[in-house]
């Protein structure tokens, strides 16, 4: 299999500025600012309601952030799709379980990387919700 060369990365200033324009248009047209972490609360609520719906209904935080598909939920799905499209059209889509920088320091074991990523995710999201970010 010939390895296709990945297209050159876009200038981060330009791509960042364009993201700023996308944000401005979003606030103007839809009245929505960017965010992602509430989506994880709603998703947790969805999952929990499959095995303990009565708890989810009474929990205060799930009354504040009701499990439902909203603008932000679709925004996060959109990031996935947008990245997938960008990766395929630039020849940079690659299944990879361990990032290069991690591999250099901790080896190519996917389990260690997975466990650390999981616990990192738990702590990061708890912090993000606490800070209301």
């Amino acid at each position: 299999m010939s390895k296709k060369l990945e297209k050159k990365a876009w200038n981060p200033y330009l791509a960042g500025a364009l993201s700023g324009v996308v944000l401005i248009l979003s606030v103007w047209i839809a009245g929505k600012y960017f965010g992602a972490s509430t989506t994880f609360v709603r998703s947790a609520g969805f999952i929990e309601s499959t095995f303990r719906p009565e708890a989810v209904e009474t929990m205060e935080y799930f009354q504040k952030q009701v499990p439902k598909i909203d603008w932000q939920w679709m925004f996060v799905v959109g990031i996935f799709i947008g990245s997938l499209l960008a990766a395929i059209t630039s020849g940079s889509f690659k299944w990879k379980a361990v990032p290069p920088m991690w591999e250099k320091r901790f080896g190519s074991g996917a389990l260690l990387r997975g466990v650390v990523a999981f616990f990192g995710g738990v702590v990061a999201m708890f912090g993000a919700r606490l800070a209301d970010g």
Binding site: S19, V76, I79, M101
Partner: protein, 176 residues
């Protein structure tokens, strides 16, 4: 309501495309910034903030958009920020970029996303206990920098833009 969902999807696709093409969703880029070795994501984020700040305040002054000012709660934000940083350093993706990383085939993001859903569930469990404690410590309400200083917001915007450009120049000189 339904149009909202379409707006969300389209906005996410555009943003995800830009994130992937500039490679800022990668673990190596995010850790590169945390290790002060590669400032690509700082360039991306700060460019986005500066452009967004000017555009949104302009539209706000024209009466076309509403600001979304979050409440400043020092206790919650300092402790939450420290926890977020610790977790981010371990995971190497933030909530939005984890979805993007999965989009370009990075399977470790699946573990991160699962962890973040568990973290959100734990927060929901802990919320009643924190509501009257840490979530009230140092609550200053919905404050802004121009509001505290009692000056026109455009002074602050100009200062931020100038500082941002000076930082960018310095980063380029240091080849970070």
């Amino acid at each position: 309501m339904k149009i909202d969902l379409i707006y969300g999807l389209v906005t996410g696709i555009l943003f995800g495309f830009l994130l992937q093409r500039s490679r800022v969703i990668r673990y190596d880029k995010q850790l590169g910034a945390l290790r002060l070795k590669d400032m690509t994501i700082i360039k991306f984020m700060l460019s986005s903030v500066l452009v967004g700040m000017v555009g949104i305040y302009l539209l706000h002054d024209l009466g076309l958009v509403k600001l979304s000012i979050k409440t400043t709660i020092l206790g919650a934000q300092i402790i939450g920020g420290l926890l977020f940083g610790l977790g981010w350093g371990l995971l190497g993706y933030c909530p939005g970029t984890a979805a993007g990383a999965l989009g370009e085939g990075r399977l470790d993001a699946v573990w991160g996303i699962a962890g973040m859903i568990v973290g959100a569930a734990l927060f929901a469990e802990a919320y009643p206990a924190m509501k009257n404690t840490v979530l009230t410590w140092g609550n200053y309400g919905k404050i802004t920098i121009p509001g505290i200083l009692g000056i026109n917001h455009w002074i602050i915007i100009v200062v931020f833009v100038v500082c941002g450009l000076v930082l960018f120049r310095w980063l380029e000189k240091k080849e970070l």
